[in-house]
Symmetry: C2
Subunit: 208 residues, 2 copies
């Protein structure tokens, strides 16, 4: 190690450890994976949690269709192969974010157990916490909400292979949390996320 007086920096070789970044941020890097049907409320829960976390001084970021499908994964379609690659890439990016110390939330239908389990194992292999949240809003409610008009198109046959209509949604057998837009307000959902992170020591509890 060399000291350069002008800047008072101690020079190190090699990578900064995750611990150092987490110490700086006073939080643990984690991937919080929201899964559920289209219109189930995944993004609303994720963005509400993001706001609450940032307001508490924590660095949180949401990966969703808006910033992934038009960017990193814009060269992927909706074939079985492309759906798998879509989730694989999102999982890898979430892992990098979590390694940076960010409270990373992903909001994708991610309908297949197999693909989600690959992402979980990827995190476990890197000793990174992975929190799967099942947004278990009944399909009738999702279809009633239909914020993007997609169920209407799927019912009219204009979209093929739509999850819940003519493509399966595989519910997580053992999610860390289950919430539902039918029973949980966005605020209650965000609080449930924060309380979960606190209970696992991933977030410091607020001083009274």
């Amino acid at each position: 190690m060399t000291k350069i007086k002008a800047t008072n920096i101690t020079w190190h070789e090699g990578h900064v450890s995750r611990d150092e970044r987490e110490g700086l941020l006073k939080q643990k890097g984690v991937t919080i994976w929201f899964t559920g049907l289209s219109g189930s409320g995944k993004s609303t829960f994720a963005y509400t949690a993001e706001h609450a976390l940032v307001q508490r001084g924590h660095l949180a970021y949401v990966l969703d269709g808006d910033n992934i499908r038009h960017g990193l994964n814009k060269n992927l379609g909706f074939s079985a192969e492309d759906r798998e690659e879509n989730i694989r890439r999102i999982g890898e990016v979430a892992k990098l974010f979590a390694d940076t110390g960010v409270i990373t939330m992903t909001s994708f239908i991610s309908p297949y157990v197999k693909d989600r389990d690959i992402v979980r194992k990827l995190h476990e292999a890197a000793s990174l916490p992975f929190v799967e949240i099942f947004v278990d809003t009944p399909i009738a409610v999702c279809e009633e909400r239909d914020p993007k008009g997609l169920y209407k198109k799927a019912r009219a046959g204009e979209i093929k292979g739509f999850t819940g209509i003519d493509d399966p949604y595989e519910a997580p057998p053992k999610p860390e949390l289950t919430i539902s837009a039918e029973k949980t307000t966005p605020q209650e959902g965000a609080l449930a996320v924060i309380e979960y992170l606190e209970s696992k020591g991933l977030l410091p509890t607020l001083a009274e």
Copy 2:
């Protein structure tokens, strides 16, 4: 906006702005793109800068072959098409990191002007700063260093299409910074990066 008394959180709709995260971190999100030959010292400069930044209390992260080639881009080879897709994906991920407010450094040979310019434009379109650093170490020095023994293999014909040997390296016509492992120590290089960020208002200057 709703107040929930128990947690004292003001609830918002929609996305947290980049400004809010940058305010939290007391820094600006930026992508610092190191480009240069194999063995030119890109990663050493990037990791030294990362250490210096984290020691100053700033969140920095390096994307390089270690965490990208074995993860996100493990399904890519070295064909012209795959090299282009490699840089495209890295550019998209760097953009997401910068949008989170992270001082993001990428360390890849990235030999083609065209591919690097696509990444630059991607950042400009999102009003995110992009700093291209040309690590201009002469090939004779890189080959002498040959930290991974790759030049030896390329000269022996065991690796085809090796940048600088039988594949071109296109130097940046207008990089924001130029450094060289021949003339610049890792510490001097890291300081040059920090001073550049300070000069552009991307990093607060240290109190005397």
